[in-house]
Symmetry: C2
Subunit: 300 residues, 2 copies
């Protein structure tokens, strides 16, 4: 680590009671674990610490997520250790049953959202998969939104298209139709460092623009719904909790808003320059308390 | 008109020298002229007034636009009377030739942009038409941006898709690649009043989100590039000019920033309530100087 880096190293990495980890870019990158991450998490759990993966990734159910995590070597993590936008959304919808009363939502999303809503709440997601504008069609006047839905749910969808923007916009004309977003990460770290992979944030930006002045409820970091969920369901003690993440605008901002210590990990999307820029701009929301590296820790 | 409406009627509609009209929602709606519009424009031209359609619609070339306008009954308007984002973009690119030096741009756009860039500047647009993520593909690691482009151009594209977001994001990693947007209207008035049709703004919001911190150059209303173009190429006298439009966030804001009189027409996207909200919020950028109705004027 450059000595001129203005954020102090996390000197006592085992001094907290509760550890909130972002996943991609912190514990792993695509299908490779970050060096030292498996050992660190294992040691925390052996010490009786509470460990949670707080991820914005909603493309898996928590069950699938545990399988993925286990395969990567994190064999000590179970479903209860995984907190995703899907988990927070299900909790919210259970407490607001009118958003599921029609038994159907319009989902610009993929597997994890669709399967979770179906398994946990018996809700059918329509809208999945390819839905393109036919060549030379008069689609502008024939959008079909006759099938009633209780909500529009927007997440990561590689089959996102203009037609889906139009359907969402027209469903959202009905003020009683819910408007829910899993997360707003603009990009995510793919397996190739030279390729930018657009995240859910690039999809939700479209739907937000066309649905104005309606405002969605966001279930991922750094939103309030997830903060409240953690405070209530985990009975967090802020002074004994730390959030470790690679993204300033989601992870670090989230931890700061939650009132816990924050630790920026250098293995993901944001770089040292981003941290320095946040410090220069005095954007306290984005400035981490500490930085830390599993690899350097175990090398010493 | 309700007497409680807080914006005065345009009492002397023929007192200006230069008239800037928005088109859709003001002179016509989809394929029907607004009552009185044809007569009003004809009278202005007979009086020797200068009349320009200042449109954010870039889906036609100016040649095609004149054909459309003529068919609707505005037979007195010619190519020189049409100012679209395409016109401003071509002017800009002529003065900044490095953005076309590769002879190729990546265009998330349709006919008007593609044909204009080809005809006026000899530039090839790649990226048009359907480009979808194949089912069950490993596309995330195989995006092909090997064909070099000088710029990314974003406009209205009914074949907009996730794959296109990804390609734009990766081209824009190159800081010398231009980033151009035709306009940012979130919706446009379709022929069916009960259907919301997403506009270019819902597409550009996606590309903006994924390209941060890069900022695009916007050629449509209410942007500075179009303001400068009008000031310079039309030698505008602000006190003798009026902008007539239906949208507060594009037309009225544009006229206000240009320093001319503004006139809100009630035949388009925004409604009386939107004007009242702008006045209550004291959002001076959005408040029109006058309101006017061709139909009421000729009925008197």
């Amino acid at each position: 680590m450059s000595s001129s880096f203005p954020v102090p190293n996390l000197a006592n990495p085992f001094s907290y009671e509760t550890y909130l980890f972002d996943a991609d870019g912190v514990l792993w990158r695509a299908n490779e674990t970050v060096p030292g991450a498996v050992t660190f998490v294992k040691e925390l759990l052996e010490m009786g610490k509470r460990v949670y993966i707080v991820t914005n990734n909603s493309t898996n159910t928590t069950e699938e997520y545990v399988k993925k995590v286990t395969k990567l070597g994190f064999e000590t993590l179970h479903e209860a250790n995984i907190i995703s936008p899907n988990v927070v959304m299900v909790d919210y919808l259970r407490r607001h049953p009118h958003y599921t009363e029609k038994g159907r939502v319009y989902a610009i999303a993929s597997g994890g959202v669709v399967d979770t809503l179906h398994k946990e709440l018996g809700v059918e997601c329509i809208g999945g998969g390819p839905d393109h504008v036919p060549l030379n069609s008069t689609f502008l006047n024939s959008v079909d939104v006759s099938k009633e839905v209780s909500a529009v749910v927007v997440g990561y969808d590689p089959h996102f298209s203009y037609n889906k923007i139009m359907k969402a916009a027209n469903y959202l004309l009905n003020p009683s139709c819910g408007f829910f977003i899993t997360n707003e990460d603009a990009t995510f770290p793919g397996s190739r460092k030279d390729i930018v992979v657009p995240g859910t944030g690039s999809i939700t930006a479209s739907i937000r623009a066309v649905a104005l002045p309606r405002q969605p409820i966001v279930f991922g970091k750094p939103g309030e719904k997830l903060q409240n969920y953690l405070r209530e369901s985990l009975d967090l003690k802020p002074e004994q909790t730390i959030m470790l993440g690679d993204r300033l605008d989601t992870d670090i901002s989230f931890g700061n808003r939650l009132g816990v210590a924050t630790c920026w990990m250098r293995t993901g999307v944001h770089k040292e320059d981003d941290v320095k820029r946040a410090i220069e701009a005095k954007d306290t929301d984005l400035i981490p308390t500490y930085t830390f590296s599993f690899e350097e820790f175990y090398a010493n």
